[in-house]
């Protein structure tokens, strides 16, 4: 029996069932045959076949899946690709080899661009496999159809694969892929548990029952009877989560307001306790000049009104910089944009943008009954925090805070909290800066794990400072939406958790089934663990 495997949980939920792997892609014969007289035509026919079959598939679907497939069909029909393939044929390569070579070169180019662009390399690999299978006249690579509910195992999933998933897929486990891969996005949108970066998954023989935990990332071989149990308890958990309603609180009544991360009024839900992170960038992106105060006021007012009377809305001031460039800021290109002029630092160069934004927030909130709290991103020192707070007060807004994303700010939380009314921890950037690992780099996913004890230690330091000074310390990174981490944070003394709306039910349920003392014990376990995996395991085991 193979051992338990650890990957990265990217879509929560627990289930179990037999593993079945994706149909393997066609393999080119070791010996390259002599090209025939019509290789150029055959290559063109293969690409045309792939393009039309993907278009047909797109036509049978709707929404994002259809769009993604139509784009992939467009790639198959692409003139740049056709030219590259024709050039390879002209060099004497048979059609299937010409397509393989040309696509390989194009994939390199995408990979060198990193991030989202690099993940398009998987779309190209899928095109190649379909074209080559057609040329070699072998079966198309694709989804297994075992006829029973199953756990889908794959190297990585292409958009065409994900579009075809039906209800017999219980969970998805891939050997590669990061948090922004198609697999992760699709699984979350369908509510399917998913684990990516699970290295051993393709060695598990088809039909072996495994359990999949999309929160902890653990994939474990189980007996068939155990699989039934896990599947049933996963289903019960999901139902139970949905049954908890009302404000966030532990089973012994310690309140932990569950706030939302939003980009605008459309992201609000009826039962939201408030907004813990209002990202204001949307108004500024793609502009050649800063939006006028009146326009900002209208947009902000819409959210304050949607939040409603007495609800707290934490507005984050413009979070732009060399990594998220805005032309009107006039920032120079930087060697190291993540460490450059971004967040509050942009106010050093263009102070009026911040002053106008604060003015717009102050005007927008008046008369709506909502409570506007304002915080600045990317603060490193107590002096920056104090200066920002004085600007907020000067604009007539009573509550000023800063985000804790830089390790220096976490270490100096006490001094920072002395000059502001609250802080909110951005775990994504705090992980990036603490672990010195680029957020956009899927290869470093393990380092960016929010369970890294060093990152948790910094969160605990900030929480302690908040307790001592009796000031609120919230969390507004993705980590707050992990039900287990939510317990750990609560145990540390974090006062509010802010997350995207789909994460709320599981976190609400986790809190409602633990006492504050339970949470404190879990926080101790996580903080004292040797590494991220054992921290997660220790907490999940209780």
């Amino acid at each position: 029996m193979p051992e338990d495997m650890n990957g990265l949980g990217v879509s929560p939920g627990r289930t179990a069932g037999p593993v079945h792997s994706m149909g393997s892609p066609p393999v080119l014969p070791a010996e390259t045959p002599q090209p025939g007289p019509d290789e150029a035509q055959r290559a063109a026919d293969a690409l045309a076949f792939v393009s039309s079959s993907l278009d047909k598939l797109a036509g049978s679907l709707s929404g994002d899946a259809a769009e993604v497939l139509a784009t992939q069909a467009m790639m198959a029909a692409d003139p740049t690709l056709a030219d590259a393939v024709a050039a390879k044929v002209a060099e004497g390569r048979p059609a299937a080899w010409a397509i393989t070579d040309a696509i390989g070169e194009q994939q390199e180019q995408f990979r060198s661009l990193g991030g989202y662009f690099a993940e398009r390399a998987a779309d190209l690999a899928d095109l190649r496999d379909r074209a080559v299978a057609w040329l070699l006249d072998v079966s198309m690579p694709g989804l297994p159809r075992p006829g029973v509910p199953f756990v889908l195992a794959a190297d990585d999933l292409s958009p065409a694969d994900t579009a075809l998933l039906d209800s017999s897929v219980l969970a998805i486990v891939t050997r590669r892929g990061g948090p922004t891969s198609h697999t992760a996005i699709l699984a979350r949108s369908r509510g399917l548990p998913a684990v990516v970066s699970c290295h051993g998954i393709l060695e598990v023989p088809d039909g072996t029952p495994v359990s999949v935990d999309g929160t902890t990332g653990v994939v474990a071989p189980v007996s068939a009877a155990e699989a039934d149990e896990v599947r049933e308890s996963g289903r019960v958990e999901k139902e139970r989560d949905a049954a908890f309603t009302g404000p966030g609180r532990t089973s012994d009544g310690h309140a932990v307001p569950l706030l939302l991360n939003v980009g605008g009024a459309a992201d609000m839900t009826a039962d939201a306790e408030g907004v813990g992170l209002f990202r204001t960038e949307f108004l500024f992106l793609g502009r050649t000049e800063a939006p006028p105060v009146a326009e900002q006021e209208t947009a902000y007012r819409a959210l304050f009104e949607a939040a409603g009377d007495g609800k707290k809305v934490v507005v984050r001031t413009l979070d732009a910089g060399a990594d998220k460039p805005l032309p009107f800021l006039g920032l120079a290109e930087e060697e190291n944009p993540a460490l450059g002029v971004r967040g509050l630092r942009t106010a050093r160069v263009r102070p009026t943008v911040l002053a106008e934004q604060l003015e717009a927030v102050a005007r927008a909130v008046s008369g709506t009954g909502a409570e506007a709290w304002v915080m600045a991103p990317m603060v490193a020192t107590a002096a920056e925090a104090a200066e920002f707070a004085s600007l907020v007060y000067k604009a007539g807004l009573p509550t000023a805070g800063v985000m804790i994303e830089v390790p220096a700010a976490a270490l100096h939380a006490r001094q920072i909290l002395a000059s502001v009314d609250f802080v909110s921890i951005g775990t994504n950037d705090l992980s990036q800066y603490t672990m010195a690992a680029d957020r956009m780099n899927g290869e470093l996913a393990d380092l960016l794990d929010p369970w890294q004890p060093a990152v948790l230690q910094l969160v605990a330091t900030v929480a302690e400072a908040g307790k001592d000074l009796n000031k609120p310390v919230g969390i507004c990174g993705e980590a707050a939406g992990d039900p287990l981490l939510a317990l750990v944070f609560t145990g540390m003394g974090i006062t509010t958790l802010s997350m995207s709306a789909p994460s709320v039910p599981a976190v609400r349920a986790a809190l409602a089934t633990h006492t504050l003392a339970d949470c404190r014990r879990l926080a101790d376990l996580a903080l004292n663990a040797a590494d991220a995996q054992s921290a997660r395991k220790a907490v999940a085991g209780r």
Binding site: D64, E67, V68, A70, T71, M74, M75, D78, P79, T80, L81, Q106, Q109, F110, L113, Y116, F117, R120, E281, F282, L285, G286, T288, K324, P325, L326, P327
Partner: protein, 90 residues
């Protein structure tokens, strides 16, 4: 040759839906529209692969150029889609 500088309005950059819309718009023009980013040679905007290879992010400035009859109209149409946040309408 008429050319224009445009700031990419789509937050996610020129991939996915925004890239597809830009390419479709280019394919609908009477003239060939080329698109470029600094330090890379201009590419045919009708090619999705070429447009993706630019690696253009939201807020980046790209240059579009076209020649011949209808070049200005083509550039108008391209600038309009490039400047919008095409992912936001989804």
């Amino acid at each position: 040759m008429p050319a224009r500088e445009v700031v990419v309005g789509s937050r996610i950059g020129l991939h996915g839906r925004p890239a597809a819309i830009v390419v479709k718009t280019a394919q609908a023009q009477q003239v060939t529209v080329k698109i470029s980013v600094p330090d890379k040679s201009p590419v045919d905007a009708r090619s999705i692969i070429a447009v993706l290879s630019l690696g253009a992010h939201g807020g980046d400035t790209v240059t579009i150029e076209a020649d011949g009859e209808g070049a200005d109209a083509a550039l108008d149409a391209m600038a309009e889609v490039l400047e919008k946040d095409l992912d936001a309408d989804a």
